[in-house]
Amino acid sequence: MNPDADQTAENEDLLAALLDGRLPDERGRFGPFGGRYVPETLVPALDRLQAGIDQHLHEPGFQDCLAAELRDWAGRPTSLTPAPALGREWGAEVWLKREDLAHTGAHKINNALGQALLAKMLGARRIVAETGAGQHGVASAAACARVGLPCVVYMGSIDCERQAPNVDRMKRLGAEVIPVTSGDRTLRAAIDEALRDWVSDPVETYYLLGSAVGPHPYPYLVRELQAVIGRESRSQILEHCGKLPDAVIACVGGGSNAIGLFHGFLADQDVSLLGIEAGGRGGGLGDNSATLSHGRPGVLHGSYSILLHDEHGQVQETHSISAGLDYPGVGPEHSLLASIGRVEYQTASDDEALDALDQCASLEGILPALETAHAFAGARRWAGKNRGKTVIIGLSGRGDKDMPTLSQYPPKKASR
């Protein structure tokens, strides 16, 4: 066999292993990616979390409780909405998976609620969480209020400013919000600080990590809790159209909404999966947050994955107009999916995202989050090359929280 054929066979084996549930493996690896690179103090806490997942997560009792709360409290299932005006504009059939309609306004609630319930079962006395755009912070604050646990949210001071409405929401929901002034003062510094908090009290504190990143078992746990997006989408599109879509498109920062949506379609080889990263203002180091497009393997926040860092292994400052995508790493499962070619990752710039946001708002009457707007920009580009085809866009969250940023960019007349 030639090397290319070897590589193809290996990629197929890895995808088969992922679909069979054999990944992550017992060392927490998705192929080469993942693992647990944390201080020894956290290892017993991660072991307890793993044991808790093994014991509870797929048990009927826990699943019934989670399903009931998702339905009665969080408002699931969320709609799959046809977007005919966008479809006419782009020359494609467009469907929107409406995570913006979930309680607290984004997909983050699926994970926050699931982990808060798990933390309660594991006997946690206190929850810490990090947040970038504030959506995970709000979801955590709400879920902790619901299950009756105190919640501390670390948020970069820059993000506190650009997502001010969410800071107030978290406080109203009873959470303590601690602005992080160290490091890059965005999501990455907030994760550093949440980890420091957890290292200080690994026994009674539960770390409610918000994206599909971090040390094993978090990437797995978050994916399992977000997979509801993909399961619902798949059955809804079959119900509406009688067939699967040609493409499924989601934005990718750490990658939790994308991994949840994609998982429903991974086995459907004819469905193209497309992840859209934040292209920011350009391709240079520091000008974007497009990890899979511009990064190389490295270790940050507990896992080996693709990372934006320099030749000395120092993690790079990133830029994106959207706080939720402004992160130099990406979940290890995305790194695997990129390396085996099952998902294609592209970028959308700040300007393209803003333009797509205006188009969705004016044509469909839906204001998506700036993060989500990147998926729309990617979908518009895909539709231009795939006339008449069907696409589902993961509408991961609503844009109300972005008004402080959007007010700096008056709406242009949408390109009709």
Binding site: P39, S200, E311
Partner: protein
């Protein structure tokens, strides 16, 4: 004698002389790159082992002092290569074995093979990698062992008995007992729990145990020294250097038994 043996011997010799071994931490190139060699020489002159911190952008196990030092060192242009070159160029070499304390990513970026060869050539005796738990450390350990260099394992008060035993077998040079669950520079804790914990660690280890995280006073040094052969002093020394204090005098004052 290889790097692992040099570290172990330095700590044992201190004990034979009736003194608690002092393991001192400085961040490389902080407060100034220009004074790194003289700072290191001075610290080594009154220490049994010196930890040289490799700055990293995301030091998740460190408190505010070492975060600040790491950030400033990176801003000034400190790199792992520069650190190895500086240590290798010192003449005379530091009078105590030097251990590099680094997060994993800068080491990965250099490549473990190149790292091990250059570190040995520079006279470095070993490594401490706070975000590399035992389970993930096989590959680096193998490359370092090939050059006779130590990979020091860390344990903490929440480490289970089984993991403690494994770390005690695997660690080379010394075994680092973190005295608190927490980040560097915090409260060192103490009391009966500390003594029980340190005895548990000492009885599990095949190499000398050094304990620290937040040690600031001579009293703490002598308290910890009653239970284990060595004490690690980190943030407090970095703060002394920031103030412009003489590091040798600061460390000497921590060792009433010296």
């Amino acid at each position: 004698m290889n790097g692992s043996q040099r570290i172990e011997q330095a700590i044992r010799q201190s004990g034979e002389a009736g003194r608690t071994a002092l393991v001192s931490y400085i961040t490389a190139g902080y407060p100034a790159m220009a004074s790194f060699r003289s700072d290191l020489a001075k610290v080594a002159s009154v220490s049994d082992v010196v930890e040289v911190g490799v700055p990293f952008t995301d030091p998740m196990a460190d408190g505010v002092t070492i975060q600040r030092a790491s950030h400033a060192a990176l801003e000034a242009g400190v790199t792992l290569q520069w650190i190895l070159d500086e240590i290798g160029a010192m003449d005379p070499a530091p009078s105590a074995p030097v251990v590099l304390m680094s997060y994993l990513n800068p080491l990965l970026a250099m490549g473990f093979g190149k790292l091990a060869g250059q570190a040995r050539a520079a006279g470095v005796a070993g490594f401490i990698v706070p975000d590399l738990p035992l389970d993930e450390s096989g590959e680096l350990d193998q490359k370092l062992a090939g050059e006779g260099l130590a990979l020091v394992q860390l344990v903490s008060p929440v480490t289970t008995a089984a993991r403690l035993a494994a770390a005690g077998r695997a660690s080379r040079g010394f075994l680092y007992a973190v005295t608190v669950t927490g980040i560097t520079g915090g409260d060192a804790g103490g009391g009966g729990n500390l003594s029980a914990y340190l005895h548990r660690v000492a009885s599990s280890s095949q190499v000398p145990v050094c304990a620290g995280f937040g040690v600031r006073s001579a009293d703490q040094v002598s308290e910890i020294g009653r239970h284990v052969p060595g004490v690690v002093v980190g943030s407090a020394l970095v703060e002394a250097l920031e103030r412009g204090d003489d590091p040798a005098a600061f460390l000497t004052a921590l060792r009433p038994d010296a």
